[in-house]
């Protein structure tokens, strides 16, 4: 599904959190949102998902303007948000429809994908932070959504698991051609995954810079191109800091 934001902004109790954000993504594109803490990235994702409908501007999905919660949407929140009374497996299959058998089979497959095959019967209180986050990832991916909104999905994970899950995400993207918007603080992650990186800046947050990456996937981690992109992004972030210190 294609996605389009036109002049989207959000005001909380008279205070603007983010303003005038416009971008569009064709089906199957991966958009990265980068920016300092508090510049409105999570707020934007909530607006896109429809969980928050009080925003200014318009959001169109497949060309149709809507403020409802999208069908076929997957959301990985900044926190795991697991249901404490359900086992890991039941948490993963929470949004699935169909017979119990089908659901469990699919759920177990995704648990295996995130490296938690042995933890199906545990309860959330028995999980570590990274394990809980991986359960949340499995729960969002298992429904094979057409739009995937990810809010710092891999930030609680070690470097190796993180890379594995990035590749899992790319597998799913390739199979289902999902449109993905991912918030991240990890520049390597952004350059590895995204077709376009949107850098937000300031309070209220605004689009500061957009960087397109026309490199085929899978990309080589640590390739020269990605390293150059990283320098570019770092410079633009650095620039911000210099400006802030002047103010």
């Amino acid at each position: 599904m294609s996605l389009e934001l036109r002049n989207v902004g959000r005001t909380f109790a008279g205070k603007q959190a983010v303003r005038d954000v416009s971008f569009s993504a064709k089906q199957g594109k991966i958009i990265g949102l980068l920016g300092t803490s508090g510049c409105g990235k999570s707020t934007l994702l909530r607006a896109i998902s429809g969980l928050d409908s009080e925003y200014d501007g318009e959001i169109a999905v497949n060309g149709a303007i809507t403020r409802d919660i999208q069908d076929e949407i997957g959301f990985i929140f900044q926190e795991p948000r697991l249901f404490p009374w359900l086992t890991v497996l039941d948490n993963v299959t929470f949004g699935l429809k169909g017979t119990k058998n089908e659901k469990e089979k699919l759920g177990k497959m995704y648990l295996k994908n995130v490296g938690l095959a042995d933890s199906a019967k545990l309860y959330p209180k028995q999980l570590s932070g990274g394990m809980a986050q991986r359960v949340a990832i499995a729960r969002a991916l298992v429904t094979s959504p057409e739009i995937l909104l990810l809010d710092e999905p891999f930030s609680a994970l070690d470097a190796f698991t993180k890379m594995q899950l990035q590749d899992l995400l790319l597998d799913i993207w390739e199979t289902y051609q999902s449109t993905i918007v991912i918030v991240t603080h990890d520049i390597d992650e952004a350059t590895y995954l995204c077709d376009r990186i949107i850098i937000l800046r300031g309070q209220p947050g605004e689009i500061d810079k957009e960087i397109g990456i026309n490199e085929q996937r899978p990309r080589a981690r640590g390739s020269k191109l990605l390293a150059e992109l990283k320098t570019e992004i770092l410079e633009s972030l650095d620039l911000n800091r210099a400006e802030e210190s002047v103010n």
């Binding site: 998902s49 404490p84 009374w85």
Partner: protein, 282 residues
Amino acid sequence: MEKMEAEVSTVLTKEHASKRKDQQIKRSKNVEHIVLGSIIPIILLIVWEILSRLEVFPAYMLPAPSVVLGTIVGLGQDGSLWGHIGITTYRVLAGFVLGTAVAVVLGSFVGFYQKAEQLFDPMIQAFRSIPSLAWVPLFILWMGIGEPSKITMIAVGVFFPVYLNIISGIIGVDRKLIEVGKINKLNSFQLVSRIILPASLPSFLTGLRSGLGLGWMFVVAAELMGASQGLGYLLVLGQNTLSPETILASIILFALIGKLTDWILKIIEARALHWQDRLVKS
């Protein structure tokens, strides 16, 4: 291959053994708790018994523990004990069920619908500030001193803690969990049954337990105001016949049965809430 199987089985038995050891340790700790907790009561009982036998306490004021126990045994032998316990427990349970049912219906309504809250809650809060025992004369006037007035009284006592806890449970459900449900396109009914109900269960069970406690308190009041049978009746009887041992026997029975019913609820609570991540279990 065989060797490996053997190894696996030794590992398994080892695991099993260590589990059993854990359980043993747990059990011995429990025993320790019980022993420690009962030292002072036992000493007090012995001192009391001795002082009573030495007639330091006059028997018509404070009879010896053995006499109280004898009274309970006597009641058991002539068969009236079960009648008293039965009717009191029946009153508490009937009132408990009635009060809980009304609280669940009203509480869910007020918890879920803002309009219902605006309609009902101020009135219920106002009623709450009336000490519930103040209703007694009115209930007697309306329903006589038979069972209906007693059960209604107990139900009133049970109602408030259950009602308040249901509402705070429903209102306190984490918005973030509800959002997960919305993202998964649950309809209102599914939101309630799959998220709001399980999430507010802990609060509901807390309400049930304090409701039951109040139920036992109110049954005393209800039976004091006029009954021909029941543990509260024994209290009145003991007062009128100047036999403190009957009063003490009744008090002890109240304590035992109240504790027993709370313990049952506590077990249900532990079963239903095993998923909770709590520091201490109360």
